[in-house]
């Protein structure tokens, strides 16, 4: 069970980092508003700090 959580958490962490970079690019191209971008950035931040410690411990 614990091993599965670790295996799952890694790709989720990397996706959360995408949420830090992609929304600003979309904001730059006028594809999203600042409010949406800020919400996505916050979501990416929270997901990173929840999931990254699960797999970074052993690396």
């Amino acid at each position: 069970m614990k091993k599965n959580i670790v295996i799952l958490s890694k790709p989720i962490s990397w996706v959360s980092l995408m949420l830090i970079v992609v929304p600003p690019v979309l904001y730059f191209t006028d594809a999203v508003t600042m409010e949406i971008m800020n919400a996505l950035l916050l979501a990416g931040t929270l997901i990173w700090f929840v999931t990254a410690p699960l797999w970074m411990r052993g690396e």
């Binding site: 929304p23 800020n38 916050l42 931040t45 990254a52 411990r57």
Partner: protein
């Protein structure tokens, strides 16, 4: 900081870690990957949020910034590779142990405490940075007063006191937890800096370099109008970015890191830290101020009508809550190990009966007091140069001892040879250039980073002279 970073090995040295009093054995050597990984996270920290905007506030042109940082960072990497790495690989000892063999144990304590005091000021600046972000949700703004030791508003001072106390409390609980958290935060933090840059470009409506350049130049003009004449040209940028980590390369602090390397290619690893932290992060952080000036210039002014860099508000303006979280974490993860390291240095002066966290609490208190004066963090460009000018010369003494002692006939590792714990030749060779440098900086207003290399060279020459005068030449002393 300049990125004044703190290496795990330096902390282990003070705590009595592995291989700190012997050369690192072959079995403990590490491949280059470990060094690239370590440096990648080392130089994107709280200081970057402060230093980046200060380039604009100091009047640097965008072209000078791009070119100057490129050249300066290349020079810094070359200094690590060709000055620090060869000595580290040859001797495989920490800076502290090498210095002890040259200068004696008591002299190392003096170096450590000096380092500790400087660390407290750096940590103070980082407490200010974190507090600037904590204050945003409470509508408490960071205000830089005119006087160096002037206070900001009462609300901000209270936030600094609370943040400083919390950071000191966590530091007193040890180093590992924060180091681990810092490692977890590093990849995210670098991307947040990139996000700051992209969002700032959007806010400036800068879809071409020409437009960006125009907005930046308008920003510089606005700063000049508000703050008076400012000048931070190409030469200054090159020297600053080369020498902001002088304590680590010219000062040889990173001997403690590179002593573990298996091969020379690890000497290029600081490049990743330099170009992520001192190029991408600085430029992106600078864009934050340019964007705020372009969109809402009144928000950049303090009560006296001067442009100031308020890292918390700048990040909030671009990224909202994620920006606030990043500035708080960046400041905290820089301040925390810095206070811990300074605390260990102070602890080394205390009697054995003193409580084990007394040093850390003292360092936390000094850092918090420094943090309540926002002008200290606003003068970070000068502080970083001063830091390098004070600690850099120690590296010259190690350089002379390693390369020139034998050819010049002076004692190699004289503290061991003479069985002394305090080598006065080292003290004088260190203190004379430092005192001259401090006089030029504080008495004559000289830009501190300019003095790092002259102080380094002078220190090396003085060490040769004093070593010859005080210890005699090696052949004479052998004869006698």
């Amino acid at each position: 900081m300049p990125n004044v970073h703190i290496e795990k090995e330096a902390v282990e040295e003070l705590e009595g870690g592995e291989y700190n009093r012997e050369p690192v054995p072959d079995k403990a050597l590490k491949g280059p990957k470990a060094f690239w990984g370590m440096y990648a996270g080392e130089h994107a920290a709280g200081t970057e949020f402060m230093i980046g905007p200060l380039f604009l506030a100091a009047g640097a042109s965008l072209k000078d910034l791009f070119i100057g940082l490129l050249i300066g960072n290349i020079l810094a990497v070359l200094t690590w590779r060709y000055l620090v790495l060869p000595i580290a690989m040859k001797r495989r000892m920490t800076l502290y142990y090498q210095l002890e063999q040259i200068a004696g144990g008591s002299m190392v304590k003096l170096y450590n405490v000096t380092n500790g005091v400087l660390f407290c000021f750096l940590a103070g600046a980082m407490i200010t940075v974190s507090a600037s972000a904590v204050g945003v949700p409470f509508d408490v703004r960071f205000e830089v007063p005119e006087a160096t030791f002037g206070l900001s508003g009462a609300g901000f001072t209270l936030i600094v006191a609370i943040v400083g106390a919390l950071i000191a409390l966590v530091a007193a609980r040890g180093y590992n937890m924060v180091a681990r958290f810092s490692n977890i935060a590093a990849p995210w933090m670098i991307l947040v800096f990139v996000a700051c840059g992209i969002v700032s470009l959007a806010q400036m409506d800068a879809h071409s370099f020409a437009k960006l350049n125009t907005v930046w130049n308008d920003g510089v003009e606005y700063v000049k109008l508000a703050n008076g004449s400012v000048d931070f040209g190409l030469g200054k940028i090159i020297i600053f970015s080369w020498l902001c980590n002088a304590a680590m390369h010219f000062g040889m602090a990173d001997l403690s890191i590179f002593r573990f390397t298996k091969n020379k290619s690890a000497g290029w690893a600081p490049a990743i830290g330099m170009f992520l932290g001192h190029y991408v992060a600085w430029i992106c952080a600078a864009f934050l101020l340019a964007a705020l000036i372009a969109t809402n210039p009144n928000e950049t002014l303090n009560a006296a009508g001067k442009v100031q860099a308020d890292p918390g508000f700048l990040a909030w303006n671009a990224l909202g809550w994620a920006g606030i979280i990043c500035v708080v974490i960046a400041g905290w993860t820089t301040a925390n190990p810095t206070i811990y390291r300074a605390g260990l240095a102070f602890q080394s002066l205390m009697p054995k009966s003193a409580h084990p966290v007394t040093g850390v609490v003292l360092a936390g208190a000094v850092a918090t007091i420094a943090g309540v004066f926002p002008n200290l963090s606003a003068q970070l460009l000068g502080f970083v140069g001063t830091y390098g000018m004070i600690l850099g010369p120690i590296g010259a003494i190690i350089f002379v001892n390693h390369y020139l002692a034998k050819p010049l006939g002076i004692h190699e590792d004289p503290a061991v040879a003479k069985k002394t714990t305090f080598n006065v030749a080292v003290l004088l060779a260190w203190v004379i250039p430092m005192a001259a440098g401090l006089w030029l900086i504080f008495g004559k207003g000289q830009f501190a980073a300019y003095l790092v290399i002259p102080a380094w060279i002078l220190s090396g020459i003085l060490y040769i002279i004093f070593a010859k005068l005080m210890h005699g030449s090696k052949s004479n002393s052998s004869d006698s």
